[in-house]
Symmetry: C2
């Protein structure tokens, strides 16, 4: 159902987090022509898109010029209910398996993102008469709490898109980490960054994973995605270059406990 | 798979065309609380949204106040290829069955609209703990040229949404005209408008169906949707209150030929 490798032209949904940033490195290492899109959906942690822009500027200094556009869906922050977008709703702390993390679900978010990415990919495929992939950094660490990160969801929606469009055979879905986790992504990114000749710490300093960075942009290290990120860096044996409110040593200690 | 009747709270995708306007009348006649959304996707015939706003103002003068928001996706006009959005691409003329009408397809459009409507409906359902419907004015007249107007597409995407979201049983899809045509819609609207106590000609004067209205807002009467609209009014035995570049008598004559 999903593609084994990305097509020469690939649309990628870039959140500014570590998963899609790692995937971007993976695509660059495979010499894909990249068409990046980001979504401003009213998320409180919009810092992630600023960090992403810093990475795009950094890529340019290495003569890597990707197509990039931001889709402004900030009105969804007004229409939708989620702790991620509602200013009066506190982000829950804890591990992703906990039930309270469901408050961070934005209803149907990945269906919206995938739908827009698909139309874009199909437009490129039709104009160029080439195969186009959609690459998404979804992984198993998110499966428990976000049903729209699971393989069965992507199978179903891909099928719906195929029914709903002409020439749908020209677009495929590339989800290399769907059965992996944040550590899989990070390890792969390390090899990709090396291959492309970029700096690992610069790339990941220019990301944000935290749902509640403070006014200095420092991650709390306490929300679900933060914890998984810290665990992935510990497992890889590298210090996370992003700034936290606590020291790296403290974070290691907390996550071993 | 689809709902037999709309829930008390219903999200409707309003294009400003006659189909969704007819459906809105249908919902008002059934005393639904309406949550309307429109999409600016870079369509050249943006006039349709101006006409829709005139209808919303008209409803207010009759003490009918619906929730209404416009989702700005105009960036899709830049990213996507379609005769409907590209200023340099001429809208093809002719009946919908013709192959050249495929140029008016906007890739994955209805998947995008349905995805956003679904997230909105699910938010309302979660906040109020009530069942919420999504009402769409899709009909069989569009099935030939737009695969994303067919029942099998809506069945497939509804299934994907159900897999991808918590509490998906709280949202259903209401597509009363999926097996009907523009005449079905118009006949039903006539009865609904009468029940609500509104004026048929005012309601349909405040719509636009044409892909290429002139600078005075007059429809050409020559593109696929125009022709179906004219046929529906002729069959109902009423003059279309919207302005055309030709006289109503000429249009009747052309469509009988």
């Amino acid at each position: 159902m999903f593609a084994d490798k990305p097509a020469g032209k690939t649309v990628i949904s870039l959140s500014g987090g570590m998963d899609s940033t790692g995937l971007l490195m993976h695509l660059l290492a495979q010499n894909c022509e990249v068409f990046g899109i980001s979504f401003n959906y009213g998320q409180k942690h919009i810092l992630e898109l600023e960090r992403l822009k810093a990475n795009i500027v950094y890529l340019k200094t290495h003569n890597i010029d990707i197509n990039y556009d931001v889709i402004d869906l900030s009105i969804l922050g007004k229409l939708y209910s989620s702790a991620l977008t509602d200013p009066d709703w506190e982000i829950p702390e804890g591990h992703y398996e906990q039930d309270n993390m469901k408050q961070t679900v934005v209803p149907n978010r990945n269906a919206i993102f995938a739908s827009i990415a698909y139309g874009y990919a199909l437009s490129i495929a039709t104009e160029t008469n080439e195969q186009v992939s959609i690459a998404l950094g979804v992984h198993s660490g998110d499966h428990a709490i976000y049903p729209d990160c699971r393989p069965e969801f992507y199978e179903a929606i891909h099928k719906a898109f195929a029914i709903g469009n002409w020439d749908s055979d020209k677009v495929d879905l590339y989800l290399p980490y769907i059965n992996g986790d944040k550590h899989t992504i990070l390890k792969d990114a390390e090899a990709s960054i090396d291959k492309v000749g970029l700096d690992f710490d610069t790339i990941f300093k220019n990301t944000n994973t935290s749902y509640e960075p403070d006014e200095l942009g420092r991650a709390s290290g306490k929300t679900g995605a933060d914890i998984e990120r810290i665990e992935a860096f510990i497992k890889l044996g590298r210090k996370d270059p992003v700034e936290y409110q606590a020291s790296w040593e403290e974070l290691i200690k907390n996550n071993e406990a």
